[in-house]
């Protein structure tokens, strides 16, 4: 445990109450829309009402005549094209902030109107006259690869984004041929979205004379955004300052900058006043990224004893018109991490991704989670097919402690994971056997009860030398003895102001109250990777601890010099340095810092004044957490409505800094999974119109629908400095699959198979009626 190297472990491992809360509970948070700058103007977008069209002309005259309208920019204003996020082998089109000649999805930004208020800007948007020549769009990604399909990006000559496949493998074919059973299904995931309660937003202020751009934003990774802004805008990196104070959720959607984001910044640099753009909810559901629209055809070879022999995946993804993430990321993760917590001797895959005239695919909490949804729902189909209990099938195939380190077909190695243990704990906590008895009794009465299990191993905190895996913390022991820790994180609700302070307080040996974490501002923090990819505890916690240890060593060196004692004989507890075993001989930290900052003549020879330490650390390639979820439900035979009865999670995220925060991440994630499985959906019609672009049509989970979520912990420390593993995304990853499996189990007596979500009452009642017809 991290705390063993510093003072007593008082804070790490405790559910310390959050430092963030008092301001957020009293209206004192500072979100981007709360930023008001003198002379600030407001932006609104004219967006395409058509999925595919050529822009014949744009007339802005009437709009410019509206009193209070300051400027209108269109594609003709030549905002430079967006640079790529990182190198990609995929077919990637030019992305311009505003549509130039063509619009490619409903919501495509066509013009940005700048006015004295958002009200006026929207008035003017209505008066921007755009003449479109409509084209036939390609809406269905499954048809996008067909001969003659409309092409989204003419310059590419194809809708193909990228494809990958495992090499031909005769052993795989032989394993299928030798299996007692082969099951095959196509399991579809529908289109839904991250939907943070706070939409995207910017306040950008260009100081022309000083050549400085200040960007307040609702983001996830301030330094990453700064680098991208500098590159996009042609500014030196140090001329851009990105500030994100409080951020109202992101879940991946705010991790990358989209075309409209960049249009705001380009516009801000062309006017002499600060510019605010706060995306409204309709824009957020129409034009911010969508996620999870894909399908996998899975074949499973299994023997009568339930042992898996071979799995093959054929994965097809919808990229939308302007995917926000490198094309290789999601299908690559699915291919590399399948088959997760189970031992499968033979595995093969193919994936292909297509452009469509729809809103861009973008990351959303566990962007690759179809990996788990498909595997876990298929395991239940297999279990029913061979007449074995789903828990038993998982038990027989789970990677055990003795199997580790366990290497996947992709070369990924699982070590220090506990899928067998979380499975047993979850099944036990769910009173699985008892539920099966209740279920049997209920079925006899014609009621439809179900229980669903889902296990997964989750790659978190990617490292391996890339920027996302590198983080720094600067710890400054202030002249007063108080502690400031500067970090390149970008919390949007992760509690890092609390958790990182817990780590620092323990490692230093000071009170939690005496540590403050400063993050979310490129002007103060060392370069860091922000909050995404379940990285803040693993990588942030590690560097915060390392810097604290360095600072502590210097404090003890200086104290030893001043107290005429060997530093090794000293300890720092609660802000007081004393000789171990003789507390009477002591110095308060403030006395030591006074010397460090104000009495350089008393420093030992060669010691720099002040106490400020920075550590930058590159995390290992990946750190794996794992979990098992169990969901219990009843499906109303008359209405197809699902009532969730109970929900259990057993998880292993290694050493927990703050169990309360971990459980909050899990619960929140689970409910996003439940929402995706049951409620959330953005269907498109055949013309490419999105049909759920407001909160009457896009249904988010509310308290009344959610059962108590009970959480158990298995603690297998990782080999990173704090022993932590990421916990940010797992709840969602397991949440979809466990919910689907519970519902499928409820309907199992009817002999129906569920391969599509969301599990809306319409879909479920149709299945029920079909079975009884």
């Amino acid at each position: 445990m991290s705390a063993q190297t510093g003072g007593a472990a008082r804070f790490v491992g405790a559910s310390v109450k959050r430092r963030e809360d008092p301001r957020l509970l009293t209206g004192g948070g500072q979100f981007v829309d709360d930023v008001q700058l003198p002379g600030m103007l407001h932006a609104a977008f004219v967006r395409s009402p058509l999925a595919s069209a050529r822009i014949a002309s744009i007339d802005t005259q009437a709009a410019l005549a509206v009193p209070g309208v300051v400027a209108i920019f269109t594609g003709a204003d030549d905002f430079p094209r967006l640079p790529p996020w990182w190198p990609s082998e995929a077919n990637v089109p030019a992305q311009h902030p505003l549509a130039i000649e063509d619009v490619r999805f409903v919501g495509d930004p066509v013009a940005i109107v700048i006015a004295e208020s958002r009200y006026i800007a929207e008035d003017a948007c209505e008066l921007v006259d755009v003449a479109y020549e409509a084209r036939t769009p390609i809406v269905d990604y499954r048809a996008a690869g067909e001969e003659g399909a409309p092409v989204v990006h003419a310059e590419l000559g194809t809708n193909l984004v990228a494809e990958m496949a495992s090499p031909p493998d005769p052993a795989l074919e032989a394993a299928f041929a030798g299996s007692d059973h082969v099951f095959k299904e196509t399991i579809k995931s529908h289109r839904y979205a991250a939907v943070p309660m706070e939409t995207r937003g910017f306040v950008a202020s260009w100081n022309k004379a000083g050549g400085e751009l200040t960007v307040h934003m609702a983001g996830q990774a301030p330094h990453v955004a700064r680098a991208y802004f500098a590159l996009s805008l042609g500014l030196p990196e140090h001329a851009v300052r990105v500030i994100q104070r409080d951020v109202g959720g992101g879940f991946g959607q705010k991790a990358f900058q989209a075309r409209d984001d960049m249009a705001v910044l380009h516009a801000a640099m062309r006017i002499d006043r600060p510019l605010k753009w706060i995306e409204d909810r309709q824009e957020n559901l129409t034009a911010a990224t969508h996620s999870r629209h894909e399908q996998i055809t899975i074949e499973v070879g299994v023997n009568n004893d339930g042992l898996l022999q071979a799995i093959r995946l054929d994965h097809v993804l919808d990229a939308g018109a302007y995917p926000a993430m490198p094309a290789e990321a999601d299908p690559g993760l699915v291919a590399a991490w399948f088959p997760g917590p189970y031992k499968v001797p033979h595995f093969g895959f193919r994936n292909v991704q297509y452009y469509t005239n729809t809103t861009a695919r973008g990351p959303y909490r566990g962007p690759w989670l179809i990996e788990t949804t498909v595997r876990e729902t298929m395991l239940d189909i297999v279990a029913r097919g061979i007449g074995m209990d789903p828990a038993e099938v998982r038990r027989r195939n789970s990677i055990q402690a003795a199997d580790q380190p366990y290497q996947l077909h992709s070369g990924i190695v699982f070590d220090r994971v506990s899928p067998a243990e979380t499975l047993e704990q979850a099944v036990e906590m769910a009173h699985y056997a008892q539920f099966r008895e209740e279920q049997a009794a209920a079925r006899a009465e014609g009621r439809l009860l179900g229980i669903g299990i889902a296990s997964y191993i989750e790659p978190t905190a990617f490292g391996g030398g890339r920027s996302m895996g590198i983080e720094a913390a600067t710890i400054r022991i202030e002249p007063s003895g108080k502690v400031t820790c500067l970090m390149g994180l970008g919390s949007y609700g992760h509690s890092v102001e609390t958790t990182m302070a817990q780590v620092v307080a323990d490692e230093l040996g000071v009170a939690f109250e005496d540590v403050t974490i400063v993050q979310g501002d490129t002007a103060s923090a060392p370069v860091g990777g922000g909050n995404l990819g379940s990285r803040s505890a693993v990588i942030g916690g590690a560097v915060a601890g390392m810097s604290a240890r360095k600072a502590r060593a210097k404090i003890l060196d200086l104290a030893g010099h001043l107290m005429e004692a060997a530093p090794d004989d000293l300890e720092l507890v609660d802000g007081v340095v004393s000789v171990k075993g003789s507390p009477a001989s002591s110095m308060a930290l403030t006395e030591i810092t006074q010397v460090a900052y104000n009495g350089a003549d008393r420093l030992p020879e060669g010691m720099e004044p002040g106490i400020e330490e920075t550590t930058r650390w590159s995390a290992p390639f990946v750190t794996h957490s794992n979990a098992t979820h169990v969901c219990m439900c009843e499906v109303d035979r008359n209405t197809g409505l699902v009532k969730l009865l109970d929900y259990v999670v057993s998880e292993d995220c290694g050493v927990m800094i703050n169990p309360m925060v971990v459980e909050g991440q899990i619960s929140g994630g689970v409910v996003q999974g439940i929402g995706g499985a049951l409620l959330e959906h953005i269907p498109y019609d055949a013309d490419g119109n999105p049909l759920a672009v407001n909160f009457k049509d896009y249904l988010l989970p509310v308290a009344d629908l959610i059962p108590e979520i009970r959480i158990g912990h298995i603690v297998t420390p990782s080999d990173t400095p704090g022993g932590h593993k990421g916990a940010g995304e797992g709840g969602t990853i397991g949440g979809v699959a466990a919910t689907v499996n519970a519902v499928a189990d409820a309907l199992a007596p009817l002999g129906v198979t569920i391969t599509e979500q969301p599990l809306s009452p319409s879909r479920l009642l149709a299945l029920i009626e079909q079975a009884s017809a």
Partner: protein
């Protein structure tokens, strides 16, 4: 999502409001609670030259008994109706219907007249008003008239009110001895608009149903009477009986429910029988 500009008046007398509406013509629109109107304005699906706010007119507020009728001011807030003692005694299903409307924050602002005049096909109050044989008193500078609820709702979001008319009061016959009422609906989430709902009023004599009103909502443009079921109930068909089930099925087969992001048309068609059965059973139980 900011509304287009409009002028605004908030008269304190009904006459002043009616004059403003008459002067404003098609460009003027009365606003009561605004819980349905303001979102439409935010999306700019609705644009008005002038809003005439009915919220400050005292005579449109409150619940009173007038002979055999309960008279509810059109601008009475839904939350007030939910906890009104007269409503609880004389029109309990109206209070129950209120519980299905949105959430507390909506009911604190939304009004009965606003909901009825908005005529959302999935809303609870219009069907309840028809089921209870309510009458809507309306007024304009041209005079006053009373419209039976059954003649008010033409189609989705369309009533027989003229643009210069406003609802003044909703008159509901007080519950008679032996009467039973109930409302039941199915929605994706609590507080959402109904995928299908049903309001039922039965009259009984000696424990037997002699007359029935069965109003379905959310399954067509306006509240729809399930006439076959009403006839079957009046003829003595009991809950769960083959006659009633066949009648409900026949009623359901006559519907062409809407399809949207929440549910298919087929789904709405499928659940009508269950929803109506549930409400009918509760109404009969309520009459005992």
């Amino acid at each position: 999502m900011k509304p287009a500009a409009f002028d605004y008046v908030a008269p304190t007398s009904l006459d002043a409001a009616l004059t403003a509406l008459a002067d404003g013509g098609y460009d003027a629109k009365p606003i009561a609670g605004g819980q349905s109107l303001v979102p439409l304005m935010a999306f700019r699906l609705a644009v008005f030259g002038q809003l005439v706010d009915l919220g400050r007119i005292e005579e449109l507020q409150g619940v009173a008994r007038d002979g055999d009728e309960l008279v509810i001011g059109a601008a009475t807030r839904q939350a007030a109706i939910a906890k009104d003692a007269l409503v609880a005694e004389h029109a309990p299903v109206l209070a129950q219907a209120t519980g299905w409307i949105g959430h507390q924050q909506i009911r604190n602002r939304g009004t009965i007249g606003g909901s009825i005049c908005h005529a959302d096909p999935a809303a609870e109050y219009p069907a309840t008003a028809v089921a209870l044989d309510a009458t809507i008193d309306v007024a304009s500078t041209r005079g006053r008239r009373s419209i039976p609820a059954a003649e008010l709702f033409e189609a989705a979001y369309t009533t027989t009110l003229e643009p210069d008319e406003v609802a003044v009061a909703v008159r509901i016959p007080v519950r008679r001895p032996g009467e039973g009422t109930a409302i039941f609906e199915v929605a994706r989430r609590p507080g959402d608009f109904a995928l299908a709902g049903c309001v039922v009023r039965v009259a009984t004599s000696g424990g037997a149903v002699i007359d029935a009103r069965v109003l379905a909502f959310g399954v067509g443009g306006a509240p729809i009477r399930l006439a076959a079921a009403e006839a079957a109930l009046a003829a003595g068909a009991g809950v769960g009986s083959q006659e009633l089930t066949a009648a409900l099925q026949a009623d359901a087969d006559g519907l062409t429910p809407p399809e949207d992001a929440q549910a298919t048309s087929a789904y709405r068609h499928s659940i009508v029988v269950h929803v109506a059965n549930t409400a009918i059973a509760e109404a009969i139980a309520d009459s005992q």
